[in-house]
């Protein structure tokens, strides 16, 4: 069983990003006459090397835009590599999106056959499993209803029920699967667990470090298209959270693209301060953290509210508050000022978090809004898993 299922060898992918999207023959001809080269090269992936053995589950982690999905698509043979090679040994089933190729005007039953065919099943296989699919998705009495008359939740259930009937040798999963309600997510994880038990080869892309830790024995860490490291999952996740190899390591500030407001008040600097009173971006779970915001008042204003919002890496809002809710009135005197938010205990267990800091008035008209511009990391302490630490203890009540 130690055969290789996927061998990726020195893989690179370069996208052409056109200056101006030319989609007609006419534009292309005029473009040539103007002597426009017409595109920039964008390196999406560079020098990727790894091997997945049969029966292994491998996670791919990295920030947004690090090339995870591109890599998955190249493995799935949807995109072609610019150089290097991918060798696949087995039948691939990609789960990049559910319900592709659904036809709203066909009935649920007809769609099962078409979708099944797209996922590589024959009519006979579907015949045998049709009843099971309809029952699993709870749509038995709607089998002859047109798909467009079913709710979107029903459509997703139908797609999922059909897709899990495929008997994949190599499974490619994108995290888009992890949308939907709790019950649905649980179903996804159950199926995932089943595939792992059956020793299927799995490549899994996710921001959710917990599920990667739970399911994948090995992981690949990507950063801006480059392979940082490949190996045992726990080590890789630590490296990811510590930001090993990241040149922007000590920089808390992001780009200037997501900043808006009328600048009557300007936020000059935001710092994270650790328990030793030092500027830092790494904090242990349970440690205190102070957020220091320095700002300048440019114009006289009637009211001023500072707000913060903390997001997890997949963009979930974890916590949001402002000075108005907190019953605090920030200093409005002209010139440079400072305000601090003191957090006694970071309840997050681990991961990268982004922070929005905004100065606005009580009607929510922004003075200066910095959207997800600041980042800090929380390192794991102890063995609990999940998103946040919940204070609790185990007890036995004596009889």
């Amino acid at each position: 069983m130690s055969e290789d299922a996927i061998v990726v060898c020195d893989l690179s992918k370069i996208f052409r990003l056109p200056h101006e999207k030319k989609t007609t023959l006419f534009e292309s001809i005029t473009g040539i006459l103007k002597g426009d080269k017409g595109y920039e090269n964008f390196v999406a992936l560079k020098g990727i090397n790894f091997t997945v053995k049969k029966g292994e589950a491998v996670g791919i982690i990295g920030e947004n835009g690090s090339g995870k999905s591109t890599l998955l698509k190249i493995i799935a043979n949807i995109l072609r590599p610019s150089s290097g090679s991918v060798k696949i040994n087995g039948k691939i089933t990609p789960f990049l999106e559910l319900g592709v190729g659904f036809q709203p005007d066909l009935t649920a039953k007809e769609n099962i056959y078409v979708y099944g065919a797209i996922m590589g099943m024959s009519d006979k296989e579907i015949d045998a499993k049709l009843k099971e699919i309809l029952e699993f998705s709870g749509l038995s009495q709607f089998q002859d209803a047109k798909l467009k008359n079913l709710s979107s939740g029903m459509q997703v259930r139908l797609a999922f029920a059909t897709a899990v009937q495929t008997d994949p040798e190599i499974l490619l999963m994108d995290e888009v699967l992890a949308v939907g309600d709790m019950e649905f997510q649980q179903k996804c994880f159950d199926v995932f667990q089943r595939y792992i038990k059956e020793k299927k080869t799995i490549v899994f892309v996710s921001h959710d470090l917990n599920s990667i830790r739970r399911f994948c024995s090995k992981s690949l860490l990507l950063r801006r298209g480059e392979q940082i490291t490949f190996g045992e999952t726990n080590t890789i996740i630590d490296k990811y959270v510590y930001g090993v190899g990241d040149t922007k390591i000590s920089n808390t500030e992001g780009s200037n693209k997501s900043r808006w407001g009328n600048k009557k008040v300007e936020i000059i600097e935001v710092r994270f301060i650790d328990k030793f009173d030092e500027k830092n971006t790494f904090f242990y779970s349970g440690d205190p953290m102070t957020i220091q915001i320095r700002y300048t008042i440019h114009e006289a204003i009637v009211d001023l509210v500072f707000g913060i919002a903390i997001y997890s890496e997949n963009g979930t809002l974890i916590y949001g508050s402002n000075t108005d809710i907190g019953g605090y009135i920030p200093d409005r005197t002209a010139g440079n000022n400072e305000i601090r938010l003191i957090i006694d205990k970071l309840v997050m267990i681990e991961g990268k978090f982004s922070l929005t800091i905004a100065a606005h008035n009580k009607e929510n008209v922004p003075y200066d809004w910095l959207d997800k511009q600041f980042f800090f990391n929380v390192l794991k302490k102890g063995n609990n898993v999940g998103l946040i630490e919940i204070p609790c203890e185990w007890k036995t009540i004596g009889l």
Binding site: L79, P94, Y113, A117
Partner: protein, 254 residues
């Protein structure tokens, strides 16, 4: 090629579901699709028998055969034009040979044409025209036309991904082609020394051969057959080569 064979199931599944979709949304079902060529037939028939005084045996069948076989080309290529672009979610999210999309939409068009030929059969019965033994050539010629359509479709569908105005250009060419091919008139009205020009279009011989085999019980000549087969193959190979050249960038361009 062998991979494509493994995907034949998907190809037919897609072709049939597309075929069903075409007829599902209208109450009259597939009769709608027959009304269009029939209306055209009536208009052209009235114009050409009463005003232009065309004198051809079984002109109504002559005309209908011309319209149906030209429709096969125009519908096949027009439907295939969007077969890749119109299925971008499939192309971007799942892998299967992209040829499947083009072939399946050409097959859908062929199925629609076969329906029209059934109506043609009814017309023949109504006008009491019995086809001779030459009818055996009919499926062969139809298959050659299918290869021609497929070749054009490969080229057009893949070019359309990169140059979206191909569909408008092609619509004009199809429009012009309707009058450039002997659909409403016979080749015999063309002066002898210019016949070779109109014969350059393989559709000319295909339409003539279809008429001959079904209506007039004449066998196709060896020269015509050879020319038609050769040109269908050349178009198919060229079209497929264009397709192969562009295919690797489909998912990126959409």
């Amino acid at each position: 090629m062998r991979e494509l064979w493994n995907y034949r199931h998907l190809t037919f599944k897609l072709a049939i579901s597309e075929f069903r979709l075409r007829y599902k949304n209208s109450v009259l079902g597939f009769f709608w699709s027959l009304i269009e060529p029939l209306l055209m037939l009536i208009v052209l028939y009235i114009v050409f028998t009463n005003f232009m005084r065309v004198n051809i045996e079984h002109y109504q069948l002559f005309l209908l055969m011309g319209i149906i076989s030209w429709n096969m080309l125009s519908r096949g290529t027009t439907m295939s034009l969007n077969s890749i672009l119109g299925k971008s979610s499939l192309v971007k999210k799942v892998y299967f040979p992209r040829e499947v999309l083009v072939i399946s939409s050409s097959i859908t068009a062929l199925m629609m044409t076969l329906l029209e030929f059934i109506v043609f059969g009814i017309f023949m019965a109504v006008f009491a025209v019995i086809p001779g033994a030459t009818i055996v050539y009919f499926p062969v010629i139809l298959f050659i036309e299918f290869l021609l359509v497929l070749g054009l479709s490969f080229a057009l569908a893949s070019l359309n991904v990169f140059y979206r105005d191909i569909q408008y250009i092609w619509a004009v060419i199809i429009q012009a082609g309707f009058f450039a091919a002997p659909i409403i008139y016979p080749v015999s009205i063309i002066p002898e020394k210019y016949v070779w020009i109109i014969k350059l279009n393989p559709m000319t011989s295909i339409i003539e051969m279809l008429r001959g085999s079904v209506i007039y019980s004449t066998s196709p000549t060896i020269g015509d057959t050879a020319f038609v087969i050769a040109s269908a193959l050349v178009v198919l190979v060229c079209g497929y080569l264009i397709f192969l050249k562009l295919e690797s960038r489909f998912a990126e361009e959409m």
